[in-house]
């Protein structure tokens, strides 16, 4: 390939490290381009995974992130959401295996970013639903808010994530158990609310069902002891539904 396209291809290859074939890359100044592009990617990942940074430290994070950038360079110019594959990268990154909760913390950081940029919608107020009678409630079709993201971990990743985002050490009282949360956006602020696993199932059922009654039956199939009224209240309180 010659001309401009050929130049672009050679330049891009040289940015990736193959600098021998491309004469301009032999100039010391070529490093400026390589450094600028990498720094922009690392800055974006650091901004998008603050809890992970808190857990592993900035130096470890940027070293790991640099490998990820090389493997999965950005394809979308919106670097404010770069890192869609970073948690998956950590799954297969051997040094991360020393911190078994790190991948789930990264997933929660990612859901936070997704919620932040999701479409706007008014949050359904709990009082609107509370005023309905039993029949009307059962027939109700609820719309899950576009900024809602469910999160489930087989580890206490929600507690670890919360402490990390606050820049604090995890409390001594941490119980090593499954944790779930629902990520919502209320008044343009992203919230992570711990919920029971049954609440996530209920939320999923609501998204799939034509009525609240159907969603409740489907949830009870899986969690026979679930208190549907309490699950609904917790989801409404978290701002999980749109008007």
């Amino acid at each position: 390939m010659n001309g401009l396209a050929g130049f672009q291809g050679d330049f891009a290859d040289a940015l990736d490290g193959d600098a021998t074939a491309f004469a301009p890359a032999r100039q010391p100044a070529f490093a400026i381009y390589r450094n600028t592009a990498m720094r922009a990617c690392l800055d974006a990942l650091e901004a998008n995974f603050p809890a992970v940074v808190c857990l592993v430290g900035r130096e470890w994070f940027r070293a790991a992130a640099a490998i990820h950038v090389t493997q999965s360079p950005p394809r979308d110019p919106r670097l404010t959401t770069y890192g869609e594959a970073f948690a998956e990268f950590l799954v297969a990154f051997p040094p991360a295996s020393e911190l078994p909760y790190l991948v789930d913390v990264a997933r929660l950081d990612r859901l936070w970013v997704e919620s932040l940029v999701a479409a706007d919608a008014n949050v359904l107020a709990a009082t609107t639903v509370a005023s309905l009678g039993a029949d009307a409630l059962g027939a109700l079709t609820l719309r899950v808010h576009p900024a809602v993201r469910p999160f489930a971990s087989s580890l206490p990743a929600v507690s670890i994530w919360q402490a990390s985002r606050a820049g604090m050490a995890v409390g001594e009282d941490l119980i090593w158990r499954t944790e779930c949360a629902v990520v919502t956006r209320v008044d343009n602020e992203v919230c992570v609310t711990p919920v029971e696993a049954s609440a996530l199932r209920f939320l999923e059922a609501i998204a799939e069902s034509s009525s609240l009654a159907d969603a409740a039956f489907s949830t009870l199939d899986r969690y026979p002891d679930a208190r549907i009224d309490l699950l609904l209240a917790s989801l409404l309180e978290a701002g999980a539904f749109a008007t």
């Binding site: 130049f7 672009q8 400026i32 479409a119 576009p146 900024a147 602020e189």
Partner: protein, 277 residues
């Protein structure tokens, strides 16, 4: 919509409250649209609030107009939506490329100024202006590399781009200083050859010395505007190039008040030149 020659600042989210309280005369703000291309959420709400209060300039970094390929259709559509939403007074991009084979390189990359490159650039700018429904301005780049194969001087290349595409130019004075220093050229000669009639906006920013020990200057936007750049700005104003002027700062960002003080310096110069003209 044209804008009277006033000075503005590059907006940073941490300055939102201070900016909204600002009483500076004729202040305008510039943002990178890529940071606000969300479906919804707080960033977009912030931009809406700024747009209600200030004239805005959208200064894109990602359309990759100097590439052999057309700019990404989805990205153009997002930019169009943002333009329709906040109705900016200025829209600009860079004379550079950043996309290759579906991959985005977050930098402004150079190219040999050939006849072929000019044809691609003209086509991409015309296409962009068509999709956005408005004229855009292109910024002169910072140079670090000595490239072979140029068939045009940069100023002639920009002049021909303007003639063929109808676009405007964003004259970044710091880039002129950095590039001419790095390539061993004379910034005053560059400015005297620049198609000033097409300039819609001027950028002023700080630069850094490359830490590898070379004599290269880097367009780092992490320091106050250098004295040498202010001198070039005076030169431009004295030649009648009195245009909206932006103080750009992207790294080591100081308080809004400190940025405004730099902005006042440019604004005062603009006002006195505007009255003298």
């Amino acid at each position: 919509m044209s804008m009277p020659p006033a000075a503005g600042v590059g907006f940073k989210p941490q300055h939102f409250d201070a900016a909204m309280r600002s009483t500076s005369d004729a202040l305008w703000l510039e943002v990178h649209p890529e940071n606000y291309m969300a479906e919804g959420g707080p960033q977009l709400a912030m931009l809406d609030a700024l747009a209600r209060r200030f004239p805005l300039s959208l200064h894109g970094v990602s359309l990759s107009l100097a590439a052999a390929a057309l700019p990404d259709a989805a990205q153009l559509q997002r930019l169009r939506r943002l333009i329709d939403r906040v109705e900016p007074v200025l829209v600009s991009e860079h004379m550079a490329w950043s996309s290759w084979a579906g991959r985005y390189v977050p930098d402004l990359l150079p190219f040999p100024r050939t006849h072929e490159a000019l044809a691609h650039l003209v086509r991409n700018v015309v296409h962009t202006q068509d999709r956005l429904g408005r004229r855009i301005s292109l910024e002169n780049p910072s140079h670090y590399l000595v490239l072979e194969g140029h068939e045009w001087s940069e100023t002639d290349f920009l002049g021909e781009l303007v003639r063929r595409s109808g676009c405007g130019l964003l004259l970044d004075v710091n880039n002129v200083y950095v590039s001419t220093h790095n390539l061993g050229e004379d910034p005053l000669v560059y400015l005297d050859d620049f198609p000033l009639h097409a300039v819609t906006e001027i950028h002023l920013a700080g630069h850094a010395v490359d830490d590898t020990g070379a004599t290269l200057l880097i367009d780092s936007h992490d320091a106050p505007v250098a004295d040498a750049v202010w001198s070039l700005y005076h030169h431009l104003l004295s030649r009648g190039c009195v245009r909206p002027t932006l103080i750009e700062r992207d790294g080591d960002v100081p308080s809004f008040a400190t940025l405004l003080a730099e902005r006042e310096r440019a604004h005062t110069l603009l006002l006195s030149e505007g009255m003298a003209a």
